[in-house]
């Protein structure tokens, strides 16, 4: 692979160590529509990387490429320094990439434990091992301090939006996700529940997971993210640590792909 090629400055890893996931020159087109053009992005472990951009900027396409749902036409992806090709969601899951979709992908009629283990149930001589699954689910939920559910045997239908989001996130953690991708995790939530979910997102990064969060809500983004990547018409307009950005700069980047304003603390890169 052409790993040693020239790196655009915008994508220089913040620490200097190898990022968990590195995208170089990722391009995706749907028929005549150029959805992503030459996108570079590093996603380091232990940080929350927010992906911003106007509608149609290519945010969903980018996360679907990372989640293995779309295969990019060209470009390289490397995971922990090794080149990878993600052809199916299963490939991504095998690496440790878990996606929490906007519609959460939970079964209302199943309970929390059943949802968290769906597709990967533990069995003992082919019979479902409910005790072991319930214990593991409980440990994961309490390690994330998701404490507002009274019983993990209640059907997901009876949970609030924030609780459902928490269950979906805990499911990713249960499966040892190294990278958790979240698509609009707070879009349908009220104020307190948004705070609860953002706190959970922060906790996830503090535990060493890489988190990538797509959000329209700049309040949320500035509250929780370490770095912000802004897509503009399928191109990566900028990837910067949050200290070099303010809301106005991000809005400029989202709407025009560039910003002439100076950052609050340091100068622009």
């Amino acid at each position: 692979m052409t790993e040693a090629g020239a790196e655009p400055p915008a994508a220089t890893p913040s620490g200097g160590a190898e990022p968990l996931l590195r995208l170089r020159g990722v391009t995706k087109r749907f028929g005549p529509v150029q959805a992503l053009t030459d996108v570079d992005l590093d996603i380091p472990a232990g940080q929350v990387t927010a992906l911003a951009g106007d509608n149609g900027a290519g945010k969903s396409v980018l996360i679907k490429c990372i989640a293995g749902i779309h295969a990019p036409e060209s470009g390289q992806m490397s995971w922990e320094g090794k080149p990878v090709h993600l052809r199916t969601p299963r490939d991504a899951a095998d690496l440790g990439i878990e996606t929490v979709y906007q519609d959460l992908a939970l079964c209302d009629n199943l309970d929390i434990v059943q949802n968290m283990f769906l597709g990967r149930e533990r069995t003992r001589s082919r019979v479902l091992d409910e005790e072991s699954m319930e214990t593991a689910a409980r440990e994961t939920l309490s390690s994330l301090r998701v404490t507002t559910v009274r019983s993990i045997r209640q059907p997901v239908a009876s949970l609030s939006g924030g609780q459902r989001q928490s269950v979906a996130i805990a499911k990713a953690v249960l499966w040892d996700a190294k990278l958790v991708i979240m698509d609009e995790p707070t879009a349908a939530l009220g104020v307190t529940q948004t705070a609860m979910v953002l706190e959970l997102v922060r906790r996830l990064a503090d535990r060493g997971h890489a988190v990538m969060i797509v959000s329209h809500n700049l309040n949320d983004v500035f509250q929780v993210a370490d770095r912000i990547a802004v897509l503009y018409l399928g191109r990566m307009a900028a990837v910067r640590p949050i200290s070099e950005l303010d809301r106005q700069i991000v809005v400029d980047l989202m709407t025009s792909g560039e910003s002439t304003r100076s950052a609050p603390s340091a100068g622009t890169a």
Binding site: C107, G119, T147, I152
Partner: protein, 430 residues
């Protein structure tokens, strides 16, 4: 003894109380005593998870009505006859539940049962194949499973609606059945084992032994599972509730055996639990295990609840769906066996269309949702008993068939209404 955590569930010590108080949570199983448990169960009913409550209520209502109109209804002899009548409906309903759980429907099972019966009768015919009973039953059930495989494959591989595929199946298998039987034809069955399923009984002593063995196995399994959950510190029903469950099963078993052991013969004494009741019970136990304790069953519920979520979780949707239809048709085949056994023959008079409607009605009356993802095998059995009770009661009153159809239709409508209302009650975003 197993330690009982006062607040089971997910409550680590360092949590801030404010965080826990933020969200209103529906009262669920955090109970540690019998009254609390009952309160939680009541809350669940209010939340739209009514389980078997409506069907038990309906059964009581039907019994009271018919008993007040004809005092013969609640006699031991009639109740046992009712159980035998219910066996066919219950069996077909237990098959239909696989399709309903998937959010699909299978309209063909009435004639699949009929065709299974024809195959069975043909294979047993002394002047024809003259096979032993076990081989004939095995081949007839395999043929029914194959029908399910064909229909299920058409539905999943080609993406055709199950309603249409199984409607075509209803016509096709009816045609095939009539073709084999010939114009107005029928086949008599003289095999003692097959005929004995519906008309034979365990001896009274054997009835007691079998009942005690079943309740004993159920009791040990239930007690051990709850004890294991308590030991692991998981949410478990309190010991009192575990005891109540086992006691309830024992009481039910005693009542059934007492009813069946009462002499119901007119000329010669007839006593004991009919084999067909045992057969229904066996299938009920098996299907409950398959749906509740195996991955296959879990995926059936997951697909019925949210097929897209199941697909993303890596569940093989077409395989599970197809196999669901196989289970449905296979169970219909057992229904065909019961049909043949009861009539000691099979003829062109099989009303497969009516039977499938009774099967769907029984499943829904029992508490299975038409919208997928909610239901249990036991719903089919209970619903089948309700249908048989209406059938039997109106027979006692001398009500003609047209009225029976109309009353059954009204009961079905009532059941679907309850299902629909309950669904609204439990829809998310309340």
């Amino acid at each position: 003894m197993a330690k009982v955590d006062p607040t089971p569930g997910v409550v680590p010590p360092e949590e801030e109380p404010s965080e826990a108080a933020e969200l209103a949570v529906s009262a669920e199983l955090v109970a540690t005593s019998v009254p609390e448990y009952l309160k939680a169960a009541l809350a669940r009913v209010r939340g739209g998870e009514m389980g078997i409550l409506p069907v038990v209520g309906g059964l009581l209502l039907v019994s009271i009505i018919f008993q007040s109109l004809n005092s013969h209804f609640l006699t031991a002899a009639n109740l046992v006859a009712l159980l035998v009548q219910a066996a066919l409906f219950s069996m077909l309903a237990m098959g239909e539940i696989y399709a309903l759980l998937l959010g699909e429907i299978d309209l063909s099972i009435g004639f699949v049962a009929g065709l299974g019966g024809v195959i069975l009768a043909e294979l047993l015919k002394p002047t024809g194949f003259d096979w032993p009973w076990w081989a004939a039953i095995a081949v007839s059930l395999a043929a029914c499973a194959l029908i399910g495989l064909i229909q299920g494959s058409l539905i999943t591989r080609l993406g055709l609606p199950s309603f249409i595929v199984t409607l075509a199946g209803l016509l096709f298998w009816q045609g095939l059945m009539l073709r084999i039987l010939g114009n107005g034809g029928s086949i008599l069955v003289s095999d003692a084992t097959v005929n004995g399923i519906a008309s034979g009984n365990l001896t009274p002593a054997a009835s007691w032994i079998v009942m005690l063995a079943i309740v004993g196995i159920f009791g040990v399994m239930t007690w051990r599972r709850d004890a294991r959950r308590r030991a692991a510190g998981l949410v478990a029903p309190p010991k009192g509730v575990t005891g109540l469950k086992i006691g309830g099963a024992l009481a039910g078993g005693v009542v059934v055996v007492l009813l069946c052991n009462a002499d119901r013969g007119r000329l010669v004494p007839i006593q004991g639990v009919p084999y067909v009741v045992l057969l229904v019970f066996l299938v009920l136990a098996l299907w409950t295990f398959v749906l509740g304790r195996l991955r296959f069953g879990r995926y059936i519920y997951a697909i019925g609840g949210n097929a897209e979520a199941a697909r993303r979780a890596g569940v093989n949707l077409s395989w599970i769906r197809t196999f669901g239809f196989v289970m449905c048709s296979l169970t219909a085949g057992i229904g065909g066996l019961i049909y043949v056994s009861r009539l000691r023959s099979i003829s062109t008079a099989v009303e497969g269309g009516t039977l499938v409607l009774y099967a769907v009605a029984a499943a829904v009356i029992g508490g299975t949702s038409l919208f997928g993802g909610r239901g249990k095998a036991v719903h089919g059995v209970l619903g089948g008993i309700v249908i048989a009770a209406i059938y039997n009661g109106m027979g006692l009153l001398g009500v003609a068939a047209p009225t029976q159809y109309m009353v059954t239709a009204l009961v079905l409508l009532a059941a679907v209404t309850i299902d629909s209302l309950a669904r609204k009650g439990r829809s998310p975003g309340r």
